[in-house]
Amino acid sequence: MIYFDNSATTKPYKEVVELVARLMSEEFGNSSSLHALGIRAERILENTRRTLAETIKAQPEEIVFTSGGTESINMALKGTAEAFKRTGKHIISSPVEHDAAQESLNALSAIGYEVEYLSVDEFGRISLDELKAKIRDDTILVNIMAVNNELGTIEPVVEASHIIKSRNKKTLFHVDAVQAYGKIPINVRELEADYISFSSHKIHGPKGVGMLFMRKGARLHPIISGGGHERNLRSGTVNVPGIAGFGLAASMKFERMEQDSKTCGKIRELLMERLTASLGPMLRVNSPEDGVDNILNISLKGVQSETVLHFLEMKEIYVSSGSACHSRKNTVSRVLKAIGLSPEWAKGAIRLSFSGDNTEHEAIICSEAISEIMGTVQKM
């Protein structure tokens, strides 16, 4: 099996699976309980919070645990919009965000918020000048992802944060770092964002766990009500084993970040080289040169991406058509539309995404498989 769909989700590290399983049976206490078992769970929770905070140079009290990237993003966008509705109703966003952000913004726009979108270049990169020009006195929130999940494009979020803060001190900034975490450095001393969303399962941690960085002093209106866990920001009995698994996955991932990046970069290069050689004008590379090493988005001429996906699946090679979330909607990806890709190319777009577990040999097999398929699949 060749798993080239690591941006959809990753295989958890063996050590992570073992830790989560052990904690589930041995440390099942409720971290809010007053007895010894609860206190032990709380200690695990707080130690993990420290570990994870350190990976982005944040303070432990700036970390709120959630059920994943989607919840973090919903909480940041809806929670700030609600908390600052008296300050203003103007929100700025990039048009190539993940559905979690896009749908949250749609929900806000439906209840009277004014959401304005920046234009992007052919790789989905926002223009900083345009951002500067669009920030107004009543702009309460700017939302930009750090790494695009479909293309691997790295957005200039650090520069954006400086522009935002110099234009309007009251404007808050949310960064979706789900695809960036563990792939490129994120340092909250440089990136002046108020909120940053993270997910565990994209870095070999368990699913159902995520976190939201909230800069000291930043506030928001909780979207989940209940017993007041996580400093009243996110109620619900805390998933201590899952969070501990996230912490271990992050430690392991950060240790091998450089090595993984090298491996992925090599795989990406090999695939591009070989596919360009064998397919020539039938191939279009949609990802930018300077994107993250672990994502390669390509378009194949005259075929439907889903067809290629199933042909590869028969050879036990797993990839994504455009983006995993879109493959169920039967429409051309919103992101590919936003970067101006023609429908002909967009229809045949596939995303290959790698992890440190992949090998160069797999890249060779996969490129050969794609070339072979392009020879046999009939063009529509």
Binding site: Q304, E306, H310, M314, R328, K329, N330, Q378, M380
Partner: protein
Amino acid sequence: MEKVILVRYEEIFLKGLNKKIFENQLMRNIKDRLSPLGKVTVTRSQSRIYVESSDQGFDWDEAIIRLQKIFGIASISPVEKVESDYDAIKAKTLETIDKMLKKYQYKTFKVEAKRGDKKFPLNSPQICADLGGYILANFPSLKVNVHNPDFIFYVEVRESTYLYSEIIPGAKGLPTGTGGKATLLLSGGIDSPVAGWMIAKRGVTIDAVYFHSYPYTSDRAKDKVVKLAEILSRYCMGINLHIVPFTDIQLKINEKCPHEYLTIIMRRYMMKIAQRIAEKSGSLGLVTGESIGQVASQTMESMLVTNHAVSMPVYRPLVGMDKNEVIDIAKRIDTYDTSILPYEDCCTIFVARHPVTRPSLEKCLEYEKVLDEQGLIDEAVEKTEVVKIL
């Protein structure tokens, strides 16, 4: 005193010698669908069917849900059964209404009585008047309203007496198994499950055929069709789903025939394969979800061309319906939510940009000549997988 479900059927269809066949089949179907829920007895008396169970754990609510999906049933009522003794009837009436008033805030009622047992000392109007007075005396919060009551309390005096207040409509139609067998061309769309349901409603047993184009379409598309067949089979007393590997045929057509004729030739192959499967399984006709003019392959001209591919009758129960009418039925029979799942079925991938809307049969036959029809169909039928859905 026990719980019973009273099942009514429409006697209008049951004439002469057929009556017994229909009744027996209906009772068998009821028994088939309810026996997984526990020990159950199904009896008939005076053109009514009674479902009884002495099983403590019998799931009565589920039984009512299942009965609503059995064709041939006009309506059902959960009833309380007592011996036909007036004191016993009165006692049970109190108990039943007391229970009902604890659940619903009814203010008005009327009594409707039917006396089938002429030996019973009171006649129907007398039962109504006397039992109505008895209820009023015992439940001061209730008033009689004969025109628009909150609930009607029904009393049927037969060998035993049945008390009930609820009449739940049934699926109508004729009992499955009394109308022969038909083979349904089932896609993942909205129409074909509805077409199958409509034919099944007339007592027809359904076999389904699905054309799968893996890897050009996802296995999720197949799962979706299996799910649709499962929903249908709750009405159809089980369905055999034939999954035909269709990729090779589509590729050959795509490769060798003019593109504007792809869809129509593909439809003709589907009909031919369905007919072969139908002949093998003893079906007497094919069923499709076509409706005139809905898409290019469903114009009158197209249907003439696809019809010509087979000798069996092709039943098209939706032929004169609008899309919204079909959607209404799909929602009522619970297939709609599954039908609108977005996985591509084989029809959406191999389509020409401008499929012909007025195909000519002559041209079709001419274009098809390049294909090894016998070989292609033999192979597809041979590799067909059958899934038995109960």
